[in-house]
């Protein structure tokens, strides 16, 4: 049995109205790969924020290497050997790698020495980085390396990683895992936060599972199946979505050789995109964030205009039509950002039902709104999709992410579309809600609609998609049948794999 590095004893933290952590105790051993598992809202973030000194516990204590440990600020945690890589990077695009690293250090050495150390450490751990490159030019995977190297330079005893693989391709994930394993062999413990079960089974030797702020189990993830872990996490039995075999009908949506400049200076322009979507088909489009997903959705939704003939709905050119016109013809969309794009945060659910439903549901006559009918429509969506809310008068921003997503997707499905396009339909949504949403999309395809799912979650795409393509720097790969595709092949489709192989060779 290895030595205990950090022991948590009865940690509790409450926020107004929520008990975020309730009496949580467990141990992390020296050099251990410890997974922290749980759904959104299970209390994972609060817990690690307490360990990292961002939040103070209401009760309980922590013991680090036999000494009481109660960091008041993150810099104190760092001094004691606890480092953290956040899910959202805190890097400055306009500065180079070395400058960014220096900004995160207590006593940064001279930049030239630092650059040398960055080079050494990054090579030692198989994370090649050029200290003089601007962060703005780096890929998401490379940015993460900057964050990791920044932590490693401080020689941590415990490295906390918050959902590190959500921005990586499968090949990049492999590289990261090798690095983490090497760290573990050298005695650095890793607290690895994720809800991706296969990853945890591949990587970690112990897992603590949280649900609703409480610890439900500590186990060896390699001895459990992914399904068992998921059920511990969710606290109920999960049924995989049903997908009846069905023949596809004629083409409903077609995009042909479309190139389109992004409306955002930091966006990705679409380059020569072609695909066809048939009735009853679920087409999954994968890709690491920022490879043109937003632009593709805006273009299909009609928020970005394209040459009319290059986008066709049921054979008719629609490239230059606006969103409402397209809705009228049977094409609806649900963008990634729920609050602010798919829904107006400070408006009620009734008003948000009007947002996209006005035309297809005939909620207005000659411009005058039928509020009674609109409220009825909102109620319909709430009931059909089990949106947990006191009623349709509640503001959209008062709903939890999962509930609002069910409302937004449900609203579009209720419009009875011929084509539905969704971007990241279950991002940040709890497992039960995600299952509902996926099933609803499959049911809609079963009724003969064309469904296009853009997602960064490969498991999700493999679960729902009949056909598969990937976006890489604004280019779309050929569409291939999803059946029989391996994760390896998908990774190659998503691209960005080239320099990762080089990285291994340099490391080994």
């Amino acid at each position: 049995m290895r030595q205990t590095l950090l022991r948590l004893e009865g940690l509790s933290k409450s926020y107004p109205g929520v008990r975020a952590n309730d009496d949580i105790s467990f141990e992390i051993g020296e050099g251990q790969m410890h997974a922290l598992l749980g759904e959104n809202g299970a209390g994972k973030s609060t817990l690690v924020k307490m360990i990292y000194g961002l939040v103070r516990p209401d009760a309980g204590q922590m013991i680090l290497r036999g000494e009481a440990y109660a960091p008041a600020v993150p810099s104190e945690a760092r001094r004691k050997g606890v480092a953290m890589v956040f899910q959202h990077f805190s890097l400055f695009d306009a500065l180079d790698v070395a400058e960014n690293v220096a900004l995160g250090m207590e006593n940064p050495p001279a930049l030239r020495d630092l650059a040398e150390r960055i080079r050494t450490v990054s090579e030692e751990y198989g994370l090649p980085l050029d200290p003089s490159r601007l962060v703005g030019e780096l890929s998401a995977g490379e940015r993460q390396r900057v964050e990791i190297v920044r932590c490693l330079l401080q020689d941590p005893k415990l490295l906390i990683m918050d959902e590190p693989t959500s921005v990586l391709t499968p090949q990049e994930v492999e590289v990261l895992f090798r690095t983490l394993r090497k760290l573990s062999e050298e005695g650095t413990a890793v607290l690895y936060i994720s809800h991706k079960l296969e990853e945890i089974r591949a990587l970690c030797d112990e897992a603590t599972i949280l649900r609703g702020g409480k610890k439900v189990a500590t186990c060896d993830p390699r001895e459990k199946s992914a399904r068992e872990l998921a059920e511990l996490m969710v606290g109920q039995l999960l049924t995989p979505p049903e997908r009846p075999e069905r023949p596809f009908g004629e083409v409903v949506l077609e995009v042909e050789k479309l190139s389109l400049k992004s409306n955002n200076p930091f966006g990705t322009s679409l380059k020569n995109i072609s695909f066809q979507l048939r009735k009853g088909e679920v087409l999954g489009i994968a890709g690491v964030a920022g490879n043109g997903q937003d632009e593709l959705l805006l273009m299909l939704a009609g928020e970005l205009c394209a040459p009319p003939g290059q986008v066709r709905l049921k054979g008719a050119p629609i490239g230059d039509l606006g969103p409402n016109h397209r809705r009228g013809l049977g094409l609806v969309t649900a963008p990634e950002e729920r609050l602010g794009h798919a829904a107006a945060p400070d408006m009620s659910l009734t008003e948000n039902a009007l947002l996209s439903g006005s035309g297809r549901k005939r909620l207005e006559k000659g411009g005058f709104i039928d509020w009674g009918k609109t409220e009825g429509f909102a109620r319909e969506v709430i009931e059909r999709f089990d949106v947990r809310t006191p009623g349709p008068d509640v503001l959209a921003r008062a709903l939890s992410g999962g509930n609002l997503q069910k409302f937004v997707i449900g609203r579009e499905i209720e419009l009875d579309p011929d084509v539905i396009i969704v971007n990241q339909p279950t991002w940040g949504v709890d497992a039960a809600a995600a299952a509902t949403i996926r099933q609803a999309l499959l049911d809609l395809a079963g009724k003969g609609a064309g469904v296009l799912v853009i997602s960064q979650d490969l498991d999700e795409l493999l679960e729902v998609a009949d056909s598969f393509a990937a976006l890489n720097e604004g280019r779309l790969t050929q569409v291939r049948p999803a059946k029989g595709l391996t994760v390896e092949e998908i990774g190659l489709m998503m691209g960005g794999a080239g320099d990762m192989h080089v990285a291994h060779e340099a490391a080994e």
């Binding site: 009609g302 602010g340 006005s358 411009g367």
Partner: protein
């Protein structure tokens, strides 16, 4: 240490309480200002807020004045509020008001001295059109070249003032009195006179128009898709685009409505209480209406009350100038303070102020 905490939901209590609190604070700070000028603050405040309506000596003159002053404020503010809700900031209502007056007066002077029932309606249309046209300059520059409508509309006020001066001294000058600047007195030209409809009430066609505008705006904002789109664009621009709102169209509509209403206000003023095109015709209604719109919480009904209050300060200001020799500029300071206090107080609608002990990292 003082800490600011964002509220989960804007406080409804402060939203309603703040305008009243702002009025009270303005009275307080105004009192200090009057005391500094060597006047009795209590007498000055009473002269401004109470005497115009309640004093036996002044009320017979002041009461009708209240509607005369408030009507243009309400008419302009209702239009501005629609744009403000959508996040489109027309600061140049004063210019649209002037151009509307010139268009209206232009029609009248062109027909002079002919009689005809159709002349006044034509002037109404011309006035609205003039204001609309002047507002289209910032609208088109914004949609075409992405200029800032705040700057363009504001600067066009000064252009409009130069045009007004040029008209008063040149094209529209009264040919029968060449020695004096200013046009013919429209009040003496029956077909063009915006006369009082009921004796000694101050109610003229502008008051009627303001009432219609308030009802129209209320219905539009609560029952019509256009009102929904305006609010959507102001609150969540990306959601508005998702909902199929065209930003270009909205800019044109909002600036168009507010410009037309400001033009109407100018036309009713020049053909009635104002009487003639003069260099000093513009009296700041277009700017004061901004205060009215905010004080009325951008709500058509709130704007009625805010318009009456600000109208009162105009009359009270004149009264205190007459009785206490308080400088005319003091009343503008007074109106400015009102907006200042309101905006400052509105901070606590969205934030909570917390006192905490000790420093925080």
């Amino acid at each position: 240490m003082i800490r600011l905490e964002k509220r989960k939901q804007p406080s409804r209590f402060w939203r309603i309480a703040n305008p009243f609190l702002a009025v009270a604070l303005t009275m307080l700070a105004g009192g200090v200002m009057f005391a500094a000028l060597g006047k009795d603050p209590l007498v000055a405040i009473r002269l401004i807020f109470f005497d115009p309506i309640f004093s036996e000596t002044f009320a017979s003159y002041s009461r009708p004045q209240l509607l005369i002053k408030s009507a243009p404020l309400i008419l302009i503010a209702v239009g501005l509020a629609i744009g403000f809700k959508a996040g489109i900031w027309n600061i140049g209502a004063e210019g649209q008001y002037i151009i509307g007056a010139l268009f209206g007066a232009g029609v009248a002077l062109a027909f002079f001295p002919q009689p005809g029932w159709y002349i006044f309606p034509l002037m109404v249309i011309a006035g609205a059109f003039g204001g609309f046209l002047w507002a289209m300059i910032p609208a088109i520059l914004k949609t075409r070249f992405n200029t800032n409508e705040i700057l363009v509309s504001l600067l066009l006020v000064y252009v409009a003032e130069r045009i007004l001066a040029a008209m008063a001294l040149g094209l529209m000058r009264n040919p029968d009195q060449p020695g004096f600047p200013g046009s013919r007195d429209l009040r003496r030209y029956e077909a063009a006179h915006n006369a009082e409809l009921f004796a000694n009430t101050g109610i003229h066609w502008g008051v009627v128009a303001a009432l219609i505008a308030v009802i129209f705006a209320y219905v539009m904002m609560t029952r019509h898709m256009l009102g929904f789109h305006v609010q959507l664009a102001g609150q969540a621009p990306r959601a508005a685009r998702f909902g199929g709102v065209s930003p270009t169209r909205l800019v044109v509509i909002c600036l168009g409505i507010s410009g037309a209403l400001a033009g109407l206000a100018g036309m009713f003023e020049v053909s009635g209480p104002g009487g003639q095109v003069r260099i000093e015709f513009a009296s700041g209604y277009g700017f004061t209406a901004i205060i009215v719109a905010f004080l009325g919480r951008l709500n058509p009904l709130g704007i009625v009350f805010a318009g009456l209050l600000l109208g009162l300060t105009y009359i009270g200001g004149e009264l205190s100038q007459m009785m206490l020799q308080i400088p005319g500029a003091a009343i503008q300071v007074f109106q400015g303070m009102l907006l200042f206090f309101l905006l400052a107080l509105d901070f606590q609608t969205n934030y909570r102020i917390r006192l905490t002990k000790g420093a925080r990292a």
